[in-house]
């Protein structure tokens, strides 16, 4: 990047607010996905006005900007696909207010998801979306990706918990969408902005709804000798009118990998486990737990365990939340997919995934939010082998196509990013995509924000008008 631009950025943010050395740039070539793309500089604003000035500068030099939270995203959303500036929100990490009486919090985008729930805990409140990465992912990232998590089955995803946003538009104007109240007259721009993957505007403040911590939580682990029995249980639980707070499944291969690492007590010879949670007032949690146990037994569960205390509960959840880490121990790389199917189609879909695994010669583990049909197949491969990487991508695309065929969608919570933008035509017609392009252009007319994401490339999109990146004078690019 031109030295003059770096110097200008440093003047704005101080020298500690800008990274541009090759080693630093390398670190920002990755996020939680299998994608790679490098920026030309990383900047760390501390306040809204910094963001405004960075956007103005980017406009002057015709640079693209990619917002980034903790970089835990799984679809390449925070990668600078066309170079330019990565705007990392990690220093805008203040909880500005917890309004316990009204069950709201106002936060900067870089606040870590779990930190917010921890801060709210003393008021008996928490922030419901709980992605597996909640120890590090940020609220701003959650807003961009419309993140979910295990407990979204009962409580919904990020968009159900955000009432207002402050954003910096690509023309550097600051606007407010929504507010603190339950609703605002006018179009639901907050709802539109959430999940727009950083392609509309840069979020500088988020107002969220906090929920009251439940009085009682019952965590159950059902163990099965057949995957089909486990999926049938899921369907039957819903048919009985029970919506658990969470309903997670691990298949045999995955639970063995997890058990070796976490020692959560999953029996190594089982074909599947269901991790379920019901919560609420004591009487409701109790009755629902009993009903769930009955359903699981009827579907041949070998055993149904109840977590006896908080420690056992935490251990069971550790098995779920650290599953990806466990898989990382047994394979050089893995590719986490994210697709949704109607929950009644779980069994046939899993069989087809097994077929695909055999055909490509990969191990594919399955760990997923069974309650809402949100699958996370894990394709194990070695990224050093380019052919394996290519085949892993192909197998992934085939599984995505399968999800759509089953009546589902391409992503339930990880976003489209640069992983699936070329798969969008599986779900949407060219006219659907064209309207989405126009909506994006209404916010982001020259494609300066997060170019190359969400929508397929190569047709009529604003970002193709973006000028090539100015060549480096200082040797950093």
């Amino acid at each position: 990047m031109q030295r003059t631009i770096i110097r200008e950025l440093e003047r704005l943010l101080g020298s500690s607010g800008v990274l541009s050395s090759p080693e630093d740039l390398l670190l920002y070539e990755y996020d939680g996905s299998v994608e790679e793309a490098g920026p030309d500089a990383i900047v760390f604003p501390r306040r809204k006005q910094d963001v405004v000035e960075i956007v103005k500068l980017a406009n002057r030099y015709d640079l693209s900007i990619v917002g980034r939270g903790a970089g835990t995203g799984l679809s390449g959303g925070a990668l600078a696909r066309e170079g330019g500036i990565v705007l990392a929100f990690s220093r805008m990490n203040h909880i500005l207010e917890i309004d316990a009486e009204n069950q709201r919090a106002v936060v900067e985008p870089g606040v870590v998801n779990l930190d917010l729930s921890r801060a709210a805990e003393k008021y008996g409140l928490y922030f419901a979306p709980d992605p597996s990465s909640q120890k590090s992912c940020t609220i701003g990232g959650n807003v961009s990706e419309n993140s979910g998590g295990p407990h979204t089955l009962a409580y919904g995803v990020t968009s159900n918990h955000v009432t207002g946003l402050e954003v910096v538009m690509p023309d550097a104007k600051v606007i407010r969408l929504g507010g603190r109240a339950m609703e605002t007259p006018g179009y639901d721009l907050t709802g539109l902005m959430i999940g727009s993957e950083g392609t509309f505007a840069l979020v500088t403040e988020v107002t969220v709804r906090l929920l009251r911590l439940p009085e009682d939580v019952r965590t159950l682990l059902a163990i099965y000798d057949s995957l089909g029995d486990a999926t049938d249980s899921v369907v039957d639980i819903t048919a009985r009118g029970i919506i658990p707070a969470a309903c997670e499944m691990l298949d045999g291969w995955t639970l063995r990998a997890v058990e070796a690492y976490v020692h959560a007590g999953f029996p190594l010879d089982s074909a599947a486990v269901l991790l379920m949670e019901v919560e609420g007032v004591r009487e409701a949690a109790e009755t629902q737990a009993d009903e769930i146990i009955e359903v699981c037994r009827r579907h041949n569960a070998r055993e149904v365990r109840r977590a006896r205390d908080a420690r056992e509960r935490a251990l069971l959840w550790k098995g779920r939340k650290e599953a990806f880490g466990a898989v990382g121990r047994v394979s050089p790389s893995y590719y986490v997919l994210d697709g949704v199917i109607p929950r009644t189609k779980l069994t046939p879909t899993l069989l087809r995934i097994e077929e695909i695994a055999k055909r490509y010669g990969f191990v594919i583990g399955n760990i997923f939010h069974a309650g809402d049909g949100n699958l996370h197949p894990l394709i194990l491969f070695d990224h050093r082998d380019r052919d394996q990487f290519r085949r892993a991508r192909a197998a992934g695309a085939e599984i995505m196509q399968l999800c759509v065929e089953m009546g589902g969608t391409l992503t339930g919570e990880h976003g489209v990013g640069m992983e699936k933008n070329e798969l969008m035509p599986l779900m949407f017609t060219e006219t659907d995509l064209d309207l989405m392009r126009k909506v994006r252009a209404a916010f982001n007319p020259v494609g300066r924000l997060n170019p190359g994401k969400v929508l397929p490339l190569g047709k009529g999109c604003g970002e193709t008008r973006l000028q090539p990146f100015p060549q480096s004078a200082g040797g950093n690019a």
């Binding site: 309004d99 979910g148 179009y187 009546g407």
Partner: protein
């Protein structure tokens, strides 16, 4: 019929068939919006026909208002232009219903009551019960952002709509979202349609998530001498582990209207807090126990559990608040004000003073501790209008200056002629206008009805 009108009618007949074009004054009277009557009403029988109508209207620059059950047409400013009523009531099928997946796809013209009957057969429901359930259509409920007493537990259309298909002002059929309960693929354009009053697109399909019917439900009423007691009771509920599905509060005037409506005698001179719980018997007993003790602490005069008939009745009244107020006087002016729980006591006190100053009666329903429906009830004669206009204007200003977002959901045309029913637009106005231009570049969809003159 003039020659121009005749030629228009025959061209429209080519689009949807002569039997589905109405041009007679009698039929058109039913499609009036704020006293404006369209030149024709069309009843398309397919999405393709909706698209053709909008292509035609766009080319001819004819203003179109999408119409469902005509139960919420009072919302919005008077349209600047109005040539065609696009009545979607013939598009009324359930397109997909998967009870085990808790998902549903419907055409916009199906009525809530009809859909509810379908869902109940499978032990499920869609938590969007609107006023006039027998006539209100799902398309209309979404476009009007109608809410329901159970929003305390289930939210609104924003929380329930999974995806939609719609036709833009240029006649382009488009869709967003999906049909499964969890999905983040692509931009959520369907969110924009909620509460848009038909100003962006004509809805042709809506996908929702459904919910299992609770095994049992019970409604409790606590009565209070003043609003502070009722508010304290509700805040205690909010801060408790209880999970009721309805928490609504009525002022004495509203309670009186409901009593008159139902022939019942629920605390005519009291503030009522209405709470409904759902679940198994043990859960209901727990709610009964805890609510009774909370009501005592909040100095309730009475705390009672309603029987099933009373429950159904009161639930119906809560749904129908706005029409009931309108039934009391055709000049009823109903504000919908979103406010935080902590702001409610001051807002209630200020509005009480304001109404008293203008010598106007006012019925109040506070829904889910977050949305205040406030009905000013003047006598239904034109002499009352100047006072009504003044009071409405002051209330609008009061809300805006205290940072809450009001709108007038229903009022006589005279009020709309004197003041904007929407709050002044904020910093989002520019992007709002650009989005309108993307969906409807020729401004043919319900022009002028929306916030900011859109």
């Amino acid at each position: 019929m003039s020659q121009v009108a005749e030629s228009l009618a025959s061209r429209l007949a080519e689009l949807v068939g002569a039997g589905r074009v109405h041009t007679g004054p009698k039929s058109l009277a039913a499609y009036e919006v704020d006293g404006r009557r369209p030149s024709a009403a069309l009843l398309p029988s397919s999405v393709a026909e909706v698209a053709e109508i909008l292509c035609f209207a766009s080319a001819e620059r004819l203003a179109v208002i999408p119409i469902g059950g005509r139960t919420h047409l009072h919302i919005g400013m008077p349209p600047h232009r109005y040539d065609l009523a696009l009545d979607v009531s013939a598009l009324n099928r359930v397109l997909a219903y998967e009870p085990h997946d808790l998902t549903l796809g419907v055409e916009p013209g199906i009525t809530y009551a009809e859909l509810d009957r379908n869902l109940r057969e499978k032990g499920q429901f869609l938590p969007l019960a609107p006023p006039f359930a027998e006539r209100a259509t799902l398309g209309g409920i979404v476009a009007a952002a109608a809410d329901t007493p159970v929003r305390y537990a289930h939210g609104t259309a924003k929380d329930l709509l999974l995806g939609a298909e719609f036709v833009t002002g240029e006649g382009v059929i488009s869709k967003s979202g999906g049909r499964v309960v969890k999905n983040v693929t692509g931009y959520d354009l369907h969110k924009l349609l909620i509460g848009s009053l038909g100003t962006l697109a004509v809805i042709t399909r809506l996908n929702f998530r459904t919910f299992p019917l609770p095994p049992l439900q019970r409604m409790f009423v606590a009565t209070f001498a003043d609003p502070l007691g009722a508010m304290a009771f509700c805040r205690a509920i909010m801060q408790s582990p209880l999970q009721p599905r309805v928490v609504d509060v009525l002022n004495p005037r509203a309670a009186g209207l409901f009593a008159a409506y139902s022939g019942g005698n629920l605390g005519r001179d009291s503030w009522l807090a209405v709470v409904e719980a759902a679940g198994h018997e043990k859960v209901l007993e727990r709610h009964a126990r805890d609510l009774a003790s909370m009501s005592r602490e909040a100095q309730a005069a009475e705390f009672i559990a309603l029987d099933e008939d009373q429950r159904e009745h009161l639930f119906g009244c809560l749904c129908e608040f706005s029409p009931i107020a309108f039934g009391a006087t055709s000049a009823a002016t109903v504000f919908r004000i979103a406010a935080l729980p902590s702001a409610l006591p001051a807002l209630l006190e200020e509005t009480r003073k304001l109404a008293a100053r203008h010598a106007l009666d006012c019925a109040i329903l506070i829904r889910a501790l977050g949305v205040v429906y406030l009905a000013l009830l003047p006598p239904a004669n034109p002499e009352a209008y100047p006072e009504l206009v003044n009071c409405s204007r002051e209330l609008m200003t009061l809300c805006v200056t205290s940072g809450v977002a009001p709108m007038i959901e229903r009022c006589p045309l005279e009020i709309k002629n004197a003041l904007d029913i929407w709050p002044p637009p904020g910093t989002e106005q520019e992007i709002t206008q650009r989005l309108k231009h993307v969906f409807d570049p020729h401004r043919i969809l319900a022009p002028g009805r929306f916030r900011g003159g859109i």
